[in-house]
Amino acid sequence: MDQIFTTALRFGDNAMVLGQRLTHWISRSPTIELDIAFGNLSLDLIGQANLFYELAGKLEGNGRSADDLAFLRDASEYYNVQLVEQPNGNFADTMMRQLLYVTYADLVFETMKTSPQKDLAAIAEKAQKEMIYHVRQAGEWVVRLGDGTDESHEKCQAALDNMWPWSHELFAYDDVDEAMVEQGVLPSAEHLKTQWLESLGEVFKRAGLIIRDDNWMPGGGRKGLHSEHLSYILEEMQVLPRTHPGAQW
């Protein structure tokens, strides 16, 4: 059960932190249509976080609510991958981070939704429907930027260069993940990465982008080890519940 709890928390945290990051674009987007799109993306992700947290709280059995898990844990108790906490940067950076993550999440949920672990499967079923749209939306923008103007191409390639190193952690499975593979909750890292690269490869080809791999592979999110950014994100997000302990909102 602990492993399911940990898995629910990890995917909840991924969705929470990415959703929180994306909300910053609302009222700051290149178009009003994109303001609305960022609202949708963040609503989907925060909705997913809420479901994963509710499940985690239930499995833990200590009476922690979804809000307790979101608002009353420190950075070292958050288990998201570091990719999702990276700064928004410019629009290309945000869309590249989005593409790398949601392509991964879509593939993960594809397996999770058929897993015998019914509670996780139910969340994954719903979440995957949302991820299909996210993958298409991010992919379309990466292609548009990559194959748009010289300036947008340059920014899009730079975004790929910026975000790529953080993607390795997606496949850095630990014991919990391996146990989940055995239970049919997660796809194997190898299989997942092959499919992920195939899906991204098509987008990058249309966008005219190249993957410039180096050997830097930051990671550690699964163990609560993060980049400097996360505690700022949480500080802002948690300010009211932390300042007013016990208050209802």
Binding site: T23, S27, S29, I36, G39, A49, V143, T149, M237, P241
Partner: protein, 320 residues
Amino acid sequence: MDVHHEDKDMRARFDAYVADEGKVEPKDWMPDGYRKTLVRQISQHAHSEIIGMQPEGNWISRAPSLRRKMILIAKVQDEAGHGLYLYSAAETLGVTRDEMDEALLSGKAKYSSIFNYPTLNWADAVIIGWLVDGAAITNQIPLCRCSFGPYGRAMVRVCKEEAFHQRQGYEGMMVLAKGTPEQKAMAQDALNRWWWPAIKMFGPPDSDSPHSDQNTLWKIKRFSNDELRQKYLDMVVKQANALGLTIPDPDLKFDEDTGHWVSGPMDWDEFWAVVKGNGPCNRQRMKHRQKAHDDGLWVREAAVAFAEKQAKRNNQQKAA
């Protein structure tokens, strides 16, 4: 034929038609003044929705629960949707989105002054739903019957969503007002700062309102500023009392004869100062909008360039 004669004839027919509650559609003949008034009013309304995203958007990242965060995102998103919807209604009158954007950014076009006040605590983000959306609905329900069809139809949809926002805002205020002493203080502080600006959202008193008469004849405006303000006041005083908060108007009293609440004197100098650009956040709101516009330029250019390339590729494919 005498052109002026024809214009006069058409004008007379138009006036009779709208006086008889006829609906005007974009392709119909309409007097220039009618068109101009509507472009001004609809685009101003759209700009208000867009600028109005900022004060509430300011609290999205700090909303105190997942549910409140989702409600706030959805609300700000609705405002963006209303903005787009209204821009489209204005476009049917022959003005372009670019022209309207430019008018907003250059300061030529106005937006509702209420959004030039800051959201300093969480209750501010909540009270906007109750007080500001409440005032907006009071204004907009009669606009559902506006003689200009596209505007009236847009208002029907907008009002439904605003009514929902107002209920959510009021419910959010109720939670704060019944919460911890700190939460109650937050709610009171927000009411102290938003009460008068909200009451003044209906514009200057009837004795001092330049557009009302013609707009009333054209069935654009159905009630005067003071009539709308009275409806609003009667509604929100009751609601504020139910919250157990103190309305910051020592002269507020109930008139037994008329059955209406009467407010104390309103500071119209303050109102005009904000309209003219000297409210607490006018400059900040415009800078924010301008920055989004400037930062997004390369993205919009990329989208256009990509669409052109795609069109070219499609044509070449067809030709081959």
